[in-house]
Symmetry: C2
Subunit: 696 residues, 2 copies
């Protein structure tokens, strides 16, 4: 039976992946350093990775994919307890934040639950409370270490999410008793989606309208206790579980209704607005800064986008190297699916964009940290000039974090989805990791600033900056200074795209953003300055501006990187793949604005296919460079050894014991199969014989 | 306290939706008839809807969103039992199929489980078995009524999905005993994803390589019993549960390994290929038809796309009418979000595409049914000429079902996702329906022909048809006959898009498909006829061809529809919105091929905004016209009464009793909050005092 034995030669995907590794021509350690921004950064990340992946309580493996909502919640709470101890031990939040970023890759529901407490609740107290207030809640009470106080973030209401200024919960000041009454006036004002509220949080930073003497001072922030030390709800506080969600089962989102809950006046967060001893509301114009709490979240979502994309593009590319389907003419062995140009076109731009997001993430994180530091120093020193400078810079961060948060979170959703589809049917198995990750991910496109709202905001800022430059000669600054070139590139003349000159890629993106903005300004002039009518253009401008930001800083960084370990040529190739595939994606805009012509577009598409061929031999190296251990991959399809079928089958068998072949409901189903025919079940009540009898 | 009372006026979304209904200016019943193809069709659908929605066992409500995998499986099995009785009662499969299409809207996992049995397992027997074989399994044994025999479809293997011809399971004929041995040679050949195999199916239609005398005759089909009458696995049959999936928890997908399982020779399905009494394999060239089993599935997925899109666009539009956010300048009340042009641009093209898919679905269904009938008659009559005609027609169905299945299932995934995002945070609640629906849906893009494979296949057929016309003068027929205009529209000259002339929309789509195909033929000539290198173009051509198909038949149908009930003007508006938004979406291709010029594209975009304004007052009527009761909506955000917040809050409270405020895991978490400081927990082992002591 030669034939049978020959057939018994199964697929050997692991040999394929190792052959790729052997052919890698660059130093993946150097590449890792480039991705992590610096040698120190890379070393830190590797250290934190090890701490996280070896921790027996933080463990996240295939069992994760079979947990019920109740199990997810319990395990998540236990992990929070463990993370709390790391804050105490690490002693610095920077190190802890890196751990959070890493845990977000494999267990985002966990980090959200901690993030709501630290980066929304506490950040709100830090951002809008006095030093004394922050010191009391964070240090004296212990919130900083998740001790005693565990907070939730009471902003969103059932009927108001994006329009924060229109929130309807009231905080009415009573002069007589010098206290404040928190109230939910109607169902629409019910605090909604409040992460941690259902079962874990005992305090809430509540956004509510301050009302004094019948006058509405707008939305301010207050610390409101929800539960006592025995974790029992306080009177007047009604809380319920929001229940099942698309993803992030581990988070106990809740709704809260306040019925005349009294808090001391001192629980109002008073860095900017406060009620003085004469019961007068002091409400300085800088109060706008109080919404800054969300900015940090947006910035970190760019990092989340980068990290999550690293994980899923790795899985899809490893699978694509191991999987074979259809043989080319004359070949005995089937072809690796990664060798098909269509598969390359689907995945390589995603890989390149992941690299782009490494640039974008580090750049916006650094800029945000520096700006906050400047602002904090200025506020402490009461230096108005410096404060105004910092606020301008913060506006720049606001614009670019909005562009990048919306563009990168949308992109990552698309990446997870495309990578899943690229793994065919197996991508639909929970053990591939894609399903839960997608479900967990997509809320990033909605929360902490809906992507469409953020993108239109960013687009508006860009257009307004150009308007001010054109009308009043106000020179654009920071990352928008390229708008100063408007006079040179407006119009309809195509630019030359020189594939040998990387900076020409940046030029065409600058041109397309400028021309779209110029067009929008013209439309505004024609439509009576109705910004809503140009919202689609604003979204488009935001997306292209995000690409421009990443291309610009990528190139700056690349030019400053010394040649070492043969990484630069690949980084230039990826840079080109990213830029050109973005042109291909937004070809309609590039052609309509005449930034490139038809022939150039076809050249772009043809050149992309060449670049795919160029990068093809190195894609395993380029994903190995992320340095993700199997802990961070957690996918039967994507482990390092590349032995796809064995890994995947092993997990399926481990998670689903097949020693019993009948389902618990089997009896009932078997009875259906064994049921009598309809005639018998009707006891022949409709048989010809019966009917005849009945008509006699 | 005037102010408080004023604030207590909550949102009143229901009044908004009723105001829209009052303003609807057309007859929604007539519109329903148009959508369902005919008066009879509409009446039938309404009848079936009522039968389904009143059935206490088929009931699918908000409890659906809180079920575990185990609960889903049990409930699904019970529903199968109920559906089985409807087959007996309805007495015809046509009526039953309508019920299945309807149940697919709210519970697709159920209809998949029934569909695998009826439309894959039995269709495989019908398509590749003799009449006697079909009669035995379907009627005598009772499979047609889900009695005695419940089948699964054993095609996909772990290492082979798309490449069916390379499947590795073997079926070795033994002359001595006149029987066949089914064997799984290695892990890669394990049957995988087999729906129903894990616990319910007792038979399987197995795709395996027929081997006789050491010669491999390629993949044929066999009925293989898996379980005995007591539902116990037969020896040699190893089955396991595939476990957790992204969606469709109610389906017990399994894996199967056969170890020398012997079946009678008569269990081989022998309509085309058979082993005669002399042990000779008779294998006629028409055996290609045996893969036809999947075609029916593809066609019905176009209908699923239409129905599922009806449901979700209804939810998003009802929500968008009820939800208000941000007030326009000078207005006291906030604006309905549907009034924002960006929101219109996000949703109205989706509504128009849903209407387009009604056209596409009815057209391809009818064509498929007629073709099968023709083929069946020809085979029975052994009429070779008629057979060849029918096969040509089947190829046409193959091409267009591939185009439409891939385009429409991709589109529907995108629609569910965009509609969810358009409902903001609330869209992320499971009770909105989006989450489970998306997870259940997306596998449609992968199974029964991966979308990318199908689209490249369709693109190839289109290009080849044009090649044959250009090179050999073979006139294109059927729905591809437009390719005959190639000589007139090739080149680079822009066409005139006349918004007043609906047929000019069809013209530009014909032109873009033709020019892309001409370009592809040129590329093939240059690249040594490597079809893989033009796979991206083939996918693009397939998508545009699907749009062309729907536009063409929409217009034909519209022109044949008499003016009645004022529906035609809206149908023309939706037709234009569909066509123009597709141009906007594929602007890169239209401009690159010079089908329209830059000015036309800007005119298209501007005209779309005008059309949105035109259709805006009628969107509630246009979705009410789908005639979906709340049973089919099953979403807290989209019920008919429009009372969004009350409905949604009611479901959340019903599904999540809040009389207990502590989680089951509360004690452990409370202990974390109440833990001592690090110093105390270390028993001061690292305090300055201790350390001093240790260094003395």
């Amino acid at each position: 039976m030669t034939l049978l034995r020959e057939n018994q030669k199964g697929p050997r995907p692991a040999t394929s992946i190792w052959a790729e590794r052997d052919a890698t021509d660059f130093d993946i350690n150097k590449m890792h350093v480039f991705l992590e921004g610096s040698e120190e950064g890379a070393a830190q990340i590797l250290k934190e990775m090890q701490e996280v992946e070896r921790d027996p309580i933080l463990k996240t493996d295939e069992t994760y994919y079979d947990m019920t909502k109740a199990e997810h919640r319990e395990v998540t709470a236990r992990k929070i307890g463990q993370l709390a101890k790391y804050i105490e031990q690490d002693g610095n939040l920077e190190s802890f934040e890196r751990k959070m970023n890493l845990m977000s890759i494999v267990d985002p529901q966990l980090t959200t639950r901690v993030g709501i407490h630290l980066k929304l609740f506490l950040a709100c107290i830090n951002g809008t409370g006095t030093d004394a207030q922050f010191n009391y809640w964070a240090h004296e009470r212990g919130a900083l270490f998740i001790r005693d106080v565990y907070g939730c973030f009471g902003m969103t209401e059932m009927a108001h999410g994006s329009n924060v200024a229109a929130l309807e919960t009231t905080a009415t000041y009573r002069k007589e008793t010098k206290d404040i009454v928190i109230n939910t006036p109607h169902v629409g004002a019910t605090k909604w989606w409040i992460g941690g509220a259902a079962h874990s949080a005992n305090h809430c930073s509540v956004y509510a309208r301050l009302i004094v003497d019948g006058k509405d001072y707008g939305v301010k922030t207050f610390v409101v206790p929800l539960r006592d030390r025995e974790h029992e709800l306080l009177p007047g506080v009604a809380i319920g579980d929001i229940g099942a969600k698309m993803g992030r089962d581990g988070i106990d989102n809740g709704w809260i209704q306040f019925t005349n809950v009294v808090i001391p006046k001192e629980y109002m967060l008073s860095k900017y607005t406060y009620i003085d001893e004469d019961d007068t509301v002091v409400d300085p114009p800088l109060a706008q800064l109080s919404y800054g709490a969300l900015l940090g979240g947006r910035v970190s979502m760019v990092t989340d986008s980068f990290r999550t994309s690293e994980r899923f593009i790795t899985i899809a590319l490893r699978y694509a190297v191991g999987r074979r389907q259809f043989a080319s003419k004359g070949k005995a062995e089937e072809n690796q699916i990664i060798n098909y140009p269509l598969h390359q076109k689907r995945l390589f731009p995603l890989l390149a964009t992941t690299y782009a997001m490494s640039i974008g993430s580090y750049k916006i994180e650094t800029e945000f940290a520096q700006t906050l530091k400047q602002l904090d120093g200025a506020v402490r020193a009461q230096d108005l000039k410096e404060m105004s400078d910092a606020i301008n810079r913060l506006k720049n961060v606001f614009c670019f974090s909005a562009c990048l948060k919306s563009t990168c979170t949308w992109f990552t959703a698309q990446l997870i989805d495309e990578c899943r589809q690229a793994c065919g049917g197996h991508g639909y198995s929970s053990y591939s990791g894609f399903g839960k990750a997608y479900n967990d991910w997509v809320v990033q496109c909605t929360w902490e600033g809906d992507n469409n709202i953020l993108a239109t905001n960013a687009g508006r800022i860009i257009i307004q900056t150009l308007q001010k430059f054109q009308a009043k000669g106000k020179k654009p600054s920071g990352d928008l200074s390229f708008l100063g070139k408007a006079d040179h590139v407006k119009g309809n003349k195509p630019l030359t795209l020189d594939f040998k000159k990387p900076s020409s890629l940046v030029d065409v993106f600058e041109a397309v953003v400028i021309r779209l903005s110029v067009g929008s300004i013209e439309k505004l002039a024609q439509n009576g300055n109705d910004w809503d009518l140009i919202a689609p253009e604003r979204v488009l401008i935001s997306k292209l501006n995000a690409a421009l930001f990443m291309l610009t800083h990528w190139l700056i960084k690349l030019e400053a990187t010394p040649e070492d370990g043969n990484i630069k040529k690949h980084l230039y190739t990826l840079f080109a793949i990213y830029g050109l595939s973005q042109i291909d994606l937004f070809a309609g805009a590039f052609l309509a604005e005449g930034v490139i012509d038809q022939a150039s577009l076809k050249a772009v598409q043809a050149h992309l296919m060449d670049l795919f061929k160029e990068i093809r031999p190195h894609i395993i190296g380029l994903t190995d460079a992320f340095k993700f251990s199997d802990f961070f991959i957690n996918s039967g399809l994507g482990f390092y050894n590349g032995d796809v079928y064995t890994n995947y089958f092993g997990i399926v068998k481990k998670q689903n014991d097949n020693s019993k072949s009948k389902a618990p409901y089997s009896k009932e189903f078997e009875a259906v199969l064994r049921r009598d025919t309809l005639e018998v079940r009707q006891n022949f009540g409709k048989s010809a014989k019966t009917l005849k009898k009945l008509s006699e």
